[in-house]
């Protein structure tokens, strides 16, 4: 199936939207409310295009690509609409890229830059709203919210934590937690999915250890979450080989076990990697004190004690406890070790708790 976008012949698959087809072909259409995980919303009006044979503007995020369709993404009316959207969003909020944590990973910023808007057309007249710093992991800045609704959709229907919702209406409409309580006092479980989908800086991660590092300074490395057995794919952001923050890996999110989402542990529980308290060598308690040892010393000690205990008290006096934080292969090996080497069925796993 082929359609023509801005004079270019573009390949599309059935069911694909015009927006996706355009993006796949490298044609830029801004879309502030659409996100692959939260779907079409029709709120921002940034992605509108004109289609030959169709009346008026069409939302490219909601428009199914059809064979032979002729789409224009930069007509005067489309460009006027994008400019209008940008002007109104800039008038509505307090957007200051200089100090914004989302600088360089902001879709509004990209759109403004792409349009070449130097100054917004209207004055900002509203009083600033205070930051919501009440929750341990997330900072909410209502004045940067562009009402795209991604976080609400993600919270209600993606992770189904049902905390975020739109309240009030018109220019008073805003995203609230439960019945408009600070996030830290709400039923929010800090999964951070809202931060993951926020296109601007309205929802950002609280930075660990007060570091002030923005996304463009970090390197993302795809890793598997070390916590449970789901195998969530994480983009671990580091700077100078030190951990900064973690986001779900969204590349091919539909095929990932975590579908581009994370829980509180995967998102916020990884800062231990750089902790000075981490064990660097085995420790053996000698004379009531833990002392550094080599692996050979430690393993010899464990083997010797296990052997002695088994001889003295029998195999069933020994039990093994495994963890979801290690791989299936490692869990299997420990099972074999318990049953075949030690000779006991006393083996259990933390996931049963």
């Amino acid at each position: 199936m082929r359609l023509t976008i801005d004079g270019r012949s573009v390949e599309a698959v059935p069911g694909q939207t015009v927006l996706d087809a355009a993006r796949a072909a490298g044609i830029y259409i801004p879309a502030l409310c659409y996100h692959p995980k939260t779907g079409k919303a029709g709120r921002c009006r940034a992605c509108v295009v004109e289609v030959e044979g169709m009346r008026g503007l069409k939302e490219s995020c909601a428009l199914e690509a059809k064979d032979g369709m002729v789409v224009h993404t930069a007509t005067p009316k489309v460009m006027e609409t994008r400019r209008l959207v940008v002007d109104l969003l800039l008038a509505e909020g307090h957007h200051n890229c200089i100090s914004c944590q989302a600088n360089s990973s902001c879709e509004l910023q990209d759109m403004v830059y792409h349009l070449g808007v130097e100054r917004p057309s209207f004055l900002i007249e509203s009083e600033p709203t205070p930051l919501d710093l009440s929750s341990p992991g997330i900072v909410r800045e209502a004045d940067k919210c562009i009402h795209c609704g991604r976080c609400v959709e993600a919270c209600q229907n993606g992770v189904v934590n049902e905390v975020l919702a739109f309240a009030y209406r018109g220019s008073h409409a805003k995203v609230v937690c439960d019945d408009d309580v600070p996030m830290g006092e709400s039923t929010c479980v800090q999964c951070g999915e809202c931060v993951q989908v926020c296109p601007v800086g309205a929802l950002v991660l609280k930075q660990p250890r007060d570091v002030r590092i923005r996304p463009h300074e970090t390197t993302a490395t795809k890793v598997t979450c070390p916590y449970c057995g789901v195998g969530c794919q994480i983009d671990l952001h580091t700077k100078d080989n030190r951990y900064v923050f973690a986001m779900a890996h969204e590349g091919q999110w539909e095929k990932q076990p975590n579908k581009g989402m994370l829980c509180i542990k995967g998102r916020f529980g990884l800062d231990f990697v750089d902790s000075p308290d981490r064990l660097r060598t085995p420790l053996i308690r000698r004379d009531g004190e833990l002392q550094e040892a080599t692996w050979d010393e430690a393993l010899d000690l464990v083997a010797e004690r296990l052997k002695a205990t088994k001889e003295q008290h029998g195999a069933d006096s020994i039990g093994f406890f495994t963890s979801a934080k290690v791989t299936n292969e490692e869990n299997y090996a420990l099972g074999r070790f318990a049953r075949a080497v030690i000779g006991t069925n006393n083996i259990d796993h933390c996931a049963r708790l």
């Binding site: 503007l57 509505e92 609704g149 919702a165 209406r169 019945d179």
Partner: protein
């Protein structure tokens, strides 16, 4: 929350195909029984009974202006200040109330007796000024009548106060029973020829009924003028899902008070129209989505529905034909946008009244994901005549392509504001004459509800009140709500009041409407206050031009088009304020 309330909510929920629909009724119910507001604990309890997250229940509660979070005075005095009310002197009533009560708008008297609010159009345009006290309307108010009302309320009595409402029915179809004693009673309705069309309809194949309505060229009376029979034809067939019929009784377009003429004075006409239409489209359940402020009209409908049910005209196996049909009256709660059909459907489902992205259209995916047809009250009330007398007879009224009778609501500066039923295509001059003529000299006129372009007196000359003539004259027939303005009217003030209405009613979903209406309001405020400049006037025009055609639903055009027309046609008046 008291146990009897949760039991009552349960029984409301059981009436609906999906229990979430009970959210708005539950909020109304609890508010009524908890001193006029629903606090945090009650809201959480409602959310739990219905099974929605607290966050969503809160989102719904705060979306609708009729739901209160805090306790108000014993009597909530709500003065309509929208354009027709403004033309009728509502400002004087507000000032009078402020003085009499010693409070300003938004405040409650120290004794907790009165809270004073200003509200958007209450659809009393022909009988303005209007004060809504809790659930009751007090119309045709003057400072003297307001004093009498307050004196009575201080005694703890909600008084009965007569209303002078002008009307005339030239066609005798939609307002045939207006003025007849007890016309809301089923016996009077039957004795005057009612429930006859239903017999004829049930003898016909449903497709034939659709065909007859199609042949009549009945165009949707909600404002868009789309042929009703054609709309019915779009309904998805063979989906295995039920089909629903919804009557749009949200009547919120400022200047419009036609649907209430039918529901308030001849409810059985609407019910008969719905039964026939339900039969035609294959629906077993119909809803009347009526604006929350019309709670007292909803009671009239409920009584009429109970009567019809007791006569076997609603319920199962109607007249032994095997056709089942029933009607649920569903109250809105103060949201203009719910007059848009997909917003209405969302609201009926117990959600915020946010319009949906189209496609899919309701005919394919409507309420509860099922094929749904949404028709206006006046449209459905026209159906019995078409079926009883035939499409040909219906087409005796009106002009080519614009057939049938129409109720015109005439408000503002005329001597006899009121509801007038005339054939489509009647000259505007004839309607104004019926309404007693213009009070003073005609300056400007809005002929189809607030959302259509204003006409100067000169432009309105020769206008025929039908869909096509209005288009030719650069405006729209819309709802047929005619607002007449004489030489004393300040168009910049009208424009400011208009945009404040839209900014208040914008659902807030899409950028151009949410922030566009707010920005235009700020600019017009500046201009009217004398703090603006010619640049601001140009900005208003630029914004309106840019907003047109960009919003998710028609609300963006609904304000951009008329504001642009007011500023363009009366620019000198705006400039005089800034120079």
């Amino acid at each position: 929350m008291r146990e009897e309330l949760s039991t009552a909510i349960e029984s409301i929920a059981a009436r609906y195909p999906e229990r979430r629909s009970a959210l708005l009724p539950a909020l109304h119910l609890v508010q009524q029984h908890s001193g006029g507001f629903v606090g945090a604990e009650d809201l959480a309890a409602i959310a739990e009974v219905i099974g929605v997250p607290v966050s969503e229940a809160y989102g719904v509660q705060t979306y609708y202006t009729m739901f209160q979070r805090k306790k108000l005075g014993k009597y909530h005095l709500q003065v309509d200040t929208n354009i027709p009310a403004m033309l009728a002197g509502a400002e004087a009533i507000v000032n009078h109330l402020e003085r009499a009560l010693g409070i300003t708008v938004g405040e409650t008297t120290a004794d907790g007796l009165f809270t004073l609010s200003t509200v958007e159009c209450l659809a009393s345009c022909g009988t303005c000024p209007v004060i809504q006290v809790n659930d009751r309307y007090y119309e045709s108010m003057t400072p003297e009548r307001t004093d009498a009302l307050l004196a009575s309320l201080r005694q703890g009595v909600m008084p009965d106060m007569p209303v002078v409402a002008h009307f005339h029915s030239e066609c005798g179809v939609l307002m045939a029973r207006r003025g007849m004693p007890n016309a809301t009673d089923i016996d009077v309705y039957v004795a005057s020829g009612g429930y006859r069309a239903i017999d004829r309809a049930l003898e016909m194949e449903p497709a034939k009924v659709v065909g007859e309505v199609k042949a009549s060229n009945l165009r949707g009376r909600g404002g868009a003028g789309f042929p009703a029979g054609v709309k019915w034809g779009f309904l998805a067939r063979g989906t295995g899902k039920p089909t629903y019929l919804i009557c749009n009784a949200d009547e919120g377009e400022p200047g419009t008070f036609k649907d209430r003429q039918i529901m308030q004075f001849d409810p059985h006409l609407l019910i008969e129209g719905m039964i026939i239409s339900g039969y035609a489209v294959g629906a077993a359940l119909g809803f009347i989505y009526i604006r929350g402020e019309f709670a007292w009209i909803a009671e009239i409908l409920e009584r009429a529905i109970a009567q019809a049910r007791s006569r076997g005209l609603l319920g199962t196996n109607i007249k032994g034909t095997g056709f089942d049909f029933d009607i649920i009256v569903h109250l809105g709660a103060g949201a203009y946008v719910c007059g848009e059909e997909t917003a209405l459907i969302e609201s009926l489902e117990g959600k915020r009244g946010n319009p949906r992205l189209k496609p899919p259209f309701p005919a394919v995916v409507g309420v509860y994901g099922c094929p749904t047809v949404v028709n206006n009250v006046e449209t459905l009330a026209s159906v019995p005549f078409i079926i009883e007398h035939g499409a040909g007879q219906f087409m005796q009224f009106g002009t080519a392509n614009n057939f049938g009778p129409k109720i015109f609501g005439i408000s503002g500066h005329v001597k006899r504001p009121g509801a007038y039923e005339f054939p489509l295509g009647t000259p505007l001059a004839r309607l104004l004459e019926a309404a007693g003529g213009v009070d003073g000299e005609l300056k400007a006129i809005i002929v189809g509800g607030l959302s259509v372009p204003i006409l100067t007196a000169e432009e309105a000359k020769g206008l025929l009140m039908d869909y096509d003539s209005c288009l030719k004259y650069g405006t729209m027939l819309g709802s047929g709500g005619i607002m007449v303005m004489n030489e004393t009217t300040s168009i910049p003030k009208v424009a400011l009041r208009a945009i404040r209405f839209y900014a208040h009613e914008s659902c807030g979903q899409c950028t151009p409407c949410r922030q566009g209406s707010h920005t235009v309001a700020m600019l017009l405020e500046r201009i009217v206050a004398g703090r603006g400049s010619r640049v601001d006037i140009d900005r208003v025009l630029q914004l309106c031009a840019a907003i047109k055609g960009t919003t998710l639903c028609p609300t963006g055009d609904a304000f951009a088009v008329p504001i642009e027309a007011m500023v363009t046609k009366f620019r000198a008046e705006f400039e005089a304020l800034v120079d």
